[in-house]
Amino acid sequence: MSESLRILVKVKLFGAYRDAVGAECLARELSAGSSLDGLWQELCREWPTLIPLAAARLAARNLDYAPGEAKLADGDEVAFFPPVSGG
């Protein structure tokens, strides 16, 4: 596959998501056109401990909440995290 068909994204993980992966930040190379859900599935294949956390998962793309079908672009920062509880 040619280089131009691959994108590089930064993945940030918080709370139980970070604990399941054992890292708070990852760099992932994906096929161009990959969605946020596609990235999640890929992470779940690599770290099955993430699978039970799918139901409560919140996701952001470039610091805004994003739906699973959101398409990712080269250089995006994606985050997966649990329901928030600040204040």
Binding site: K12, F14, G15, L58, A60, L63, D64, Y65, A79, F81, P82, P83, V84, S85, G86, G87
Partner: protein, 138 residues
């Protein structure tokens, strides 16, 4: 002294006075300050707050814009602390300036409600020898 950033996530202790000053203006006849404080509860010795700082700050600014659309001309500033906080320590400092008191008070309450819904900050309860995620909805 330079003005503090309007929206901030920080590990440093919070101060309300600079935020009250930051939201004050000749157009604002009401300035409301709010502090969120770690409350004593059975089995709680401290809370640990964790955040996604860049998104949390952006998200607090978005809430302020949303509230200005709802309540009219407002100036808001909010700082949230992260790290380990003992009972009595301040987790959130918020200041709202508005032309009139009603809007200032309503906007302050609405800001905290929205913060608890969407701002990516998480608390963990630390008790004697155990850790659990806090039940939310308060």
């Amino acid at each position: 002294m330079t003005a503090p950033p309007r929206f901030l996530v920080t590990a440093e202790p919070l101060a309300l006075a600079p935020l009250l000053a930051a939201v004050s203006s000749p157009a604002h006849g009401a300035v409301v300050g709010f502090l969120g404080v770690v409350r004593a509860e059975a089995g709680l010795t401290a809370l640990t707050y964790e955040a996604y700082p860049a998104m949390a700050e952006r998200s607090m600014a978005a809430i302020a814009a949303e509230l200005a659309g709802r309540f009219g001309p407002l100036t808001l500033a909010a700082h949230h602390r992260v790290g380990r906080l003992a009972v009595g320590e301040v987790s959130l400092a918020l200041a709202v300036g508005a032309p009139h008191r009603r809007e200032a008070c309503l906007a302050a309450a609405a800001f905290v409600d929205r913060l608890k819904e969407i701002v990516p900050i998480w608390k963990t309860v630390l008790g004697p020898g155990s850790t659990r995620d806090e039940e939310e909805g308060r």
